[in-house]
């Protein structure tokens, strides 16, 4: 059995990645990531970011709304303190970057290009101040400009992380034209929670992003639409809690999957999902992911 997959010129030992935002060096205290396809670091920005006012998290049925606000120590501290520790974890490491503008994306790329990471995931869910705060990832022109600039500054693989758009053809096409090696979706879904007793928002920054099992059907929908409109490898993200969920994304044509909220609940979930996929393939006599995907009737 062979679970390996290839993105760009890089081979991953299996299709399971831990998603950005849900993995840091602290995760390594609770799980061995060497058996995973790889991990994606928390999005890093040029300058340190304090993050949004608390409360930053609120649980809803089968889901979690969060509004962390990209809290991170900034690129200098990330390169000095966080990344070396993660790079020693014997798995492929992808660095997630979040810029305030194109120049910041370029500078982040230059700095990270000098490290031993396998690739860069471009977090396009940051607000474009010049365009009235619209997320970069919702504007095809912004996606082109940013990913082009990133491409010009690295030969490492580039993954574009896209927001949850129901019709994502234009964005996917923009990413494809720029030389991205893969797209990943979906990021969290905008969500709101209020408390009628206190009369307050449940999240300090008012709204947040919904993740967890509640969003899996929406993620499957968006991933399926993206796969139909691109030849790029697609990484499915959203509500994956077990091997069965991961297999659903792979079945519709995703090349890999990312596990986010599930890691918060169970730091060892990645290994359990890899094991679950292996067991299923073994039981069914499936030799690789391509063979599994040929079963798809989609």
């Amino acid at each position: 059995m062979n679970l390996s997959v290839k993105i760009g010129n890089m081979t991953f030992k299996n299709p399971v990645l831990l998603a950005s935002g849900c993995f840091s060096k602290h995760t390594l205290d609770f799980t061995d990531v060497s058996g995973l396809g790889g991990i994606i670091t928390k999005s890093v920005t040029m300058k340190p970011r304090e993050g949004n006012p608390p409360p930053r998290i609120f649980e809803t049925p089968c889901g979690v709304i969060n509004s962390i606000g990209l809290a991170n120590p900034g690129i200098d501290e990330f390169l000095k303190d966080e990344l070396p520790c993660i790079l020693s974890s014997q798995t492929r490491v992808i660095a997630s970057i979040a810029g305030a503008d194109v120049d910041e994306y370029v500078e982040l790329t230059r700095l990270i290009n000098q490290t031993d990471v396998t690739g860069i995931e471009v977090n396009l869910s940051c607000p474009n101040v010049e365009r009235g705060g619209v997320e970069f990832g919702k504007d095809p022109e912004s996606v082109k400009r940013i990913v082009d600039s990133v491409r010009n500054n690295t030969s490492k693989i580039i993954i574009c992380k896209l927001p949850p758009l129901f019709d994502n053809r234009k964005i996917v096409s923009a990413a494809e034209q720029t030389g991205a090696d893969a797209i990943s979706l979906i990021n969290t879904i905008p969500a709101l929670a209020v408390n009628f007793e206190t009369g307050k928002f449940e999240i300090g920054g008012k709204s947040g992003g919904l993740s967890g099992p509640a969003i899996k059907p929406i993620a499957l929908y968006c991933v399926y639409n993206a796969i139909k409109s691109t030849n790029l490898p697609v990484i499915g993200v959203g509500g994956i809690m077990n091997a069965r969920d991961a297999l659903e994304f792979l079945l519709i044509g995703a090349m890999m999957v990312e596990i986010g909220t599930g890691v918060l609940v169970d730091p060892d979930i990645g290994n359990k999902i890899v094991k679950g996929i292996e067991e299923y393939f073994c039981k069914e006599g499936i030799k690789d992911i391509a063979e599994f995907q040929r079963r798809s009737r989609f």
Partner: protein
């Protein structure tokens, strides 16, 4: 991460549950102030783990206490003896790391240690109380929120040759208007204990007044321990809020408080002008419990810090309340 067997899960008061779990691994490492993160199985709701302070740990077991607040704790109360649960922990920084960095850098469990608990905020303080020579004030809405006498009996200082046998009596308020006070009393024949004398208590006795004030308390430490109860309705102990009875302690004392935010805010204010080391054990909604998601932010003078990895306890002077 471990799968842990539940030895006991029962109500110890009409609103407080105690769950005892068997894990030498967790119990062996656990220190007062730390917490465990429980995965309560309810399909995907609740989804996130639930952080719970360690109430005590000894030998091969540890305990938590909780009240039913929502779906998570509701399901927690349904677990039976012999069931098992997936637990991460112990997590967080123990109280001792803050207690030993005080101004005088003496041993952590010093003589002048005062613990102030509001509601189930008693949980981490009870563990510290068991391991120290401390004065403990417990506040709750009513008697149902106060630990039963059985929990407070025989809780002395661990590791001391003359372990104090403590008898607790929930004294009902008498007709003469005496303070309703639960005191841990030392057994006869042992050195006489100095009781905490509060001006309020004195005033009540002398004048029969029920005026609330932040009273001056004096306490001569012995090897014994003291407990004072405060309830909002006066159904047991003194009537009022725990913050109405904050001890007016001497320089160099240590205060550790855990409870609702308004209580912690008041504790901080009260001790801010005194030369005492005041530590607040904070609560916040958590995502992971181990420092990754950065959900459990609390505002401090150094910016946001995180309850799960930088706390749960913080120096009061560092915490900024809204």
């Amino acid at each position: 991460m471990a799968t842990v067997e539940i030895i006991d899960n029962s109500r110890i008061t009409p609103c407080i549950f105690k769950m005892v779990l068997k894990s030498g691994q967790i119990a062996g490492k656990a220190k007062p102030g730390q917490f465990v993160n429980l995965r309560i199985v309810g399909k995907y709701y609740p989804l996130l783990r639930r952080p719970m302070s360690i109430y005590y740990a000894e030998m091969d077991r540890f305990a938590i206490i909780y009240t039913i607040r929502g779906i998570g704790t509701g399901l927690l109360s349904k677990y039976k003896n012999g069931d098992s649960m997936d637990i991460l922990g112990p997590l967080g920084i123990p109280f001792e790391s803050l207690l030993s960095t005080g101004v005088d850098k003496k041993s952590p469990f010093r003589e002048k240690l005062y613990l102030i608990a509001g509601g189930v905020g008693i949980a981490p303080l009870y563990f510290l109380y068991k391991k120290s020579s401390a004065f403990l004030i417990i506040g709750a809405k009513n008697r149902d929120g106060i630990l039963p006498t059985s929990e407070l009996e025989h809780v002395g200082e661990e590791g001391k040759s003359q372990k104090s046998n403590v008898k607790c009596q929930k004294e009902q308020g008498d007709r003469e208007g005496r303070s309703k006070l639960l005191l841990a009393k030392r057994e006869e024949g042992k050195s006489q204990k100095s009781k905490v004398k509060c001006q309020k208590e004195k005033g009540d006795r002398e004048e029969g007044k029920s005026q609330k004030s932040n009273v001056k308390s004096r306490k001569t430490r012995t090897t014994n321990t003291d407990i004072q109860i405060v309830t909002e309705d006066g159904s047991v102990g003194r009537k009022g809020l725990v913050t109405d009875y904050l001890p007016d302690v001497s320089d160099g004392s240590f205060i550790v408080a855990c409870g609702p935010v308004p209580m912690l805010k008041r504790v901080k204010e009260f001790y801010s002008k005194k030369r005492v080391n005041c530590i607040l054990s904070m609560e916040s909604r958590m995502g992971c419990g181990y420092g990754v998601c950065l959900s459990c932010a609390v505002k401090t003078i150094d910016g946001y810090r995180y309850v799960c990895k930088d706390g749960p306890a913080f120096r009061a002077e560092d915490v900024e309340f809204d």
